[in-house]
Symmetry: C2
Subunit: 213 residues, 2 copies
DNA sequence: GTCTATATTTCGATAGAC
DNA sequence: GTCTATCGAAATATAGAC
């Protein structure tokens, strides 16, 4: 019905193609070391043409940042649907479960964020801080500071968050050949061991696969 | 005996003061967005004076990188003293234990690395790749790719590594008021729950501090 | 929408005085 | 060891033709 809802069937918009190349280069070389000339060359036209689609280089990064920002909102929305906002370890388990899904499905966006934290922070400052945008990571730190939660639990929260980052981002392509469903399942098990929120009372013996078998 | 072994008692050398300011700015604004003019201004002299102490901007970053590199070597050295190099989960626990100590004691250096991965990679390339320097993180990825280790275990390894990063680096100053010894102890407990290498057979009930007490 | 210029700025780096 | 002065390169951004 709608003429162009979201995805033109055959061909991506030029703006989207720019963003595709940009995220690739920003991850590989970093935002600062990536020149507009290089982005334009890969697309087959020149630097000046980019300025028809984006008013500045920062706006390219901003567009990518907004995608990540929407994901953050989605995680929080799903969380408040399930739990009233209590900050127990079981609530945190739910949060991390959603987070695992999002990182698995948007790996490049999170890689971009991991490798360009400084540049992204400056985007958040120099552009309008439009109605407290609350980044995912800022919210994390806010949780971790909550003095009414025992330190032992807060450490577990930080550790579980890092476990996701470590497995999906820092590990690089080490798990490239592992099916996504298996990887997320294994990671969820590990997260539950960190947070102590396994469903079964006794530890399943399956996961003690230690040596060569 | 030696006239000036390592630490002049009263006053740091200018070279060290430059590195102190540089690591601060590189963490805060990023390597690329930090100008030599800014470093010099904070030290009270001008940009050109820096070139007496360092031949280029990259060499400032290189000097900081070498400090981190030495730490990586130290971790590996201690590891091979204890274990012959077997890549079991218990060996990995020992590795992470050393890693926790190093991150706790050199937080700024690891923060620098976390926030300037791209710039540091280019240092490793453009400067001589002096006898396979083997970064800590490269070694990690090499371990994680080992096909003779079950995937479930490799995920646990990556998760435990990330847990350390998450607690010490991503968490920011959330644990600034927690004594270092307590923080590392809590983190080590969490790592053991990830890797399944607790010393006691039964899970100690102390760490199930869940609610409000 | 993309092009060819060109303007503007910033920065790393050098030369040479003190 | 630090200074002033300047060079040269590279990048963002703009102006205007097609």
């Amino acid at each position: 019905m709608a003429p162009k809802p979201a995805a033109p069937p055959d061909e991506r918009t030029t703006r989207e193609r720019i963003l595709d190349i940009a995220i690739e280069l920003f991850i590989e070389k970093g935002y600062d070391k990536t020149s507009l000339r290089e982005i334009a060359e890969r697309l087959g036209f020149t630097k000046a043409a980019l300025y028809y689609h984006f008013p500045s280089k920062q706006d390219i990064l901003l567009a990518l940042h907004l995608r990540l920002h929407d994901i953050g909102n989605k995680v929080f929305a799903e969380l408040s649907n399930i739990d009233g906002g209590s900050e127990s370890l079981s609530t945190w388990t739910t949060l991390i479960d959603h987070f695992v899904d999002q990182v698995a499905n948007n790996r490049k966006l999170f890689l971009l964020h991991e490798r360009n934290q400084n540049a992204l922070e400056q985007v958040g400052r120099s552009k309008q801080h439009q109605a407290e945008h609350e980044d995912l990571e800022e919210a994390l730190r806010r949780f971790l500071k909550n003095p009414s939660v025992p330190v032992a639990d807060r450490v577990r929260m930080a550790a579980s968050f890092g476990a996701v980052i470590g497995t999906f981002l820092v590990a690089g392509d080490a798990f490239a050949d592992v099916p996504a469903s298996e990887l997320t399942s294994l990671l969820r098990d590990a997260v539950r061991d960190i947070l102590g929120t396994r469903k079964t009372a006794t530890r399943p013996p399956t996961r003690r696969a230690n040596g060569r078998r």
